[in-house]
Structures are given as structure tokens and as C-alpha cells.
């Protein structure tokens, strides 16, 4: 079975902090994704990566950056956290075909 592991299930940070969300997959997938989930808005794509050191902006990249130094790991970075970034963050990975496999999510609160 594919395993996508997100480093934290819950995280509380303060406004202005630099925040790192980590995601690791164990199936040698080329593609990795970061989504943000908000009520009524579903999942919105922040960034995705199709290879090591490669990244593409999704629908809502503002205020975020990503890093993919190794194939199995994809990090989401909030450079200076703000309260409007309080949300559920989901990581996913896939081959170049469906489906995507998701982690359990990180519920991030910015105070």
C-alpha cells in the first residue's frame, strides 16, 4: 500500500513565524502535491512538483513556497505565517496517472 506521511497532525504557530510542513511518500512517485482544505471551498492546489527540484504553482501559491530536494519528500513553507493561513493542509503523491494518494492532513492554526 502507498503511504503518504505528514509530519504533524496538529500544529499551532504564531503570526510572523516561518512554518514548515513536511510530507514523505514511500512509493517512488514522481508527482507530489500540497492542497489547502477549507469548508465550502473543497481542496485547492497550492503547489505541485513533478520531479526533484521541480515545482509549479497551483491555484493559490501566494504566501507559500515549497522544496523538493529528494524524490520522497515535499515540504511546504509558510515564509511569514498569517492568520488567514489557518487551515487544513493535505499532501498527496502519484505516478503520472490516477489516482492521487493522500496523507492524513495537518490542521494548522496561526494565532
Amino acid at each position: 500500500d502507498v503511504k503518504v506521511t505528514q509530519s504533524s497532525r496538529y500544529l499551532v504557530k504564531r503570526t510572523g513565524e516561518k512554518v514548515f510542513l513536511e510530507c514523505v511518500q514511500d512509493m517512488d512517485h514522481e508527482n507530489m502535491f500540497w492542497y489547502r482544505q477549507d469548508p465550502g471551498l473543497g481542496l485547492r492546489l497550492i503547489y505541485f512538483s513533478y520531479d526533484v527540484k521541480m515545482k509549479e504553482k497551483g491555484d493559490i501559491p501566494e504566501g507559500y513556497s515549497v522544496s523538493r530536494e529528494k524524490k520522497e519528500r515535499f515540504s511546504l513553507i509558510l515564509e511569514s505565517a498569517s492568520t488567514n493561513q489557518t487551515s487544513m493542509y493535505l499532501c498527496a503523491s502519484s505516478l503520472n496517472r490516477p489516482p492521487q494518494h493522500f496523507g492524513d492532513g495537518t490542521r494548522l492554526s496561526i494565532l
Partner: protein
């Protein structure tokens, strides 16, 4: 840009009965995939069913089936013999076939199952 709309924020069904969740999408593409994902309280997103647009036959997975109306751009999910474990958020998603496996999601429908 592609959009996916789920018009029912919440639905409820009696255990053992049938419920249909609706999804419409907007696209100018002819080759694409559609998916239904389930997210229980544990938060793990689980793929329920998928449909390739070129296939006319509606996909079925045990108690889950879809009604895919390509011309109407509609993709509803039918859950038969509903069980308590079906209670979850359900998301409809769309993927262009040559788009690097990126998904566009609807806003979700919360399904409650009454015992």
C-alpha cells in the same frame, strides 16, 4: 479554467437506503477523468470511484455507482444500502488527461447517515 460544483453542502440518508450526491463540472476538454473521494472523520482521503470520460458505461464499485452524463457535464454518485461507515465528506474531482495528474475539486458534500 475548469470548475467543479457540488450543489449540496449537506445530505442525510437513513441507514440501508439509497442516496445520490450531485456534481457538475465545466470544461472544454474532451478527454478527462472524474473521481469521487471520501474523507471520513479520520481525515484520510479515500478514492471511492473513477470514471474515464471516453467510457460510456457508468463505473460501479460494490455499493457505489455513478451516473455520468457527458453532454450535461454531470457526474453524480449513488450510494446504495447506506451504512453508518459511509458518513463522511465526499468530494468530486476532475482531471484533464494530459495535465500532469492535477485535480480540481468541488466544495464537498457532508453525508450523514441516520441509524
Amino acid at each position: 479554467a475548469q470548475t467543479v460544483t457540488q450543489s449540496q453542502p449537506e445530505m442525510s440518508v437513513q441507514e440501508a437506503e439509497t442516496v445520490t450526491l450531485s456534481c457538475t463540472y465545466d470544461t472544454s476538454e474532451s478527454d478527462y477523468y472524474l473521481f469521487w473521494y471520501k474523507q471520513p472523520p479520520s481525515r484520510q482521503m479515500i478514492l471511492v470511484i473513477r470514471q474515464e470520460a471516453y467510457k460510456q458505461q457508468n463505473a460501479t464499485e460494490n455499493r457505489f455507482s455513478v451516473n455520468f452524463q457527458k453532454a450535461a457535464k454531470s457526474f453524480s454518485l449513488k450510494i446504495s444500502d447506506s451504512q453508518l461507515g459511509d458518513a463522511a465528506m465526499y468530494f468530486c474531482a476532475y482531471r484533464i488527461s494530459n495535465a500532469g495528474n492535477m485535480l480540481t475539486f468541488g466544495g464537498g458534500t457532508r453525508l450523514m447517515v441516520k441509524p
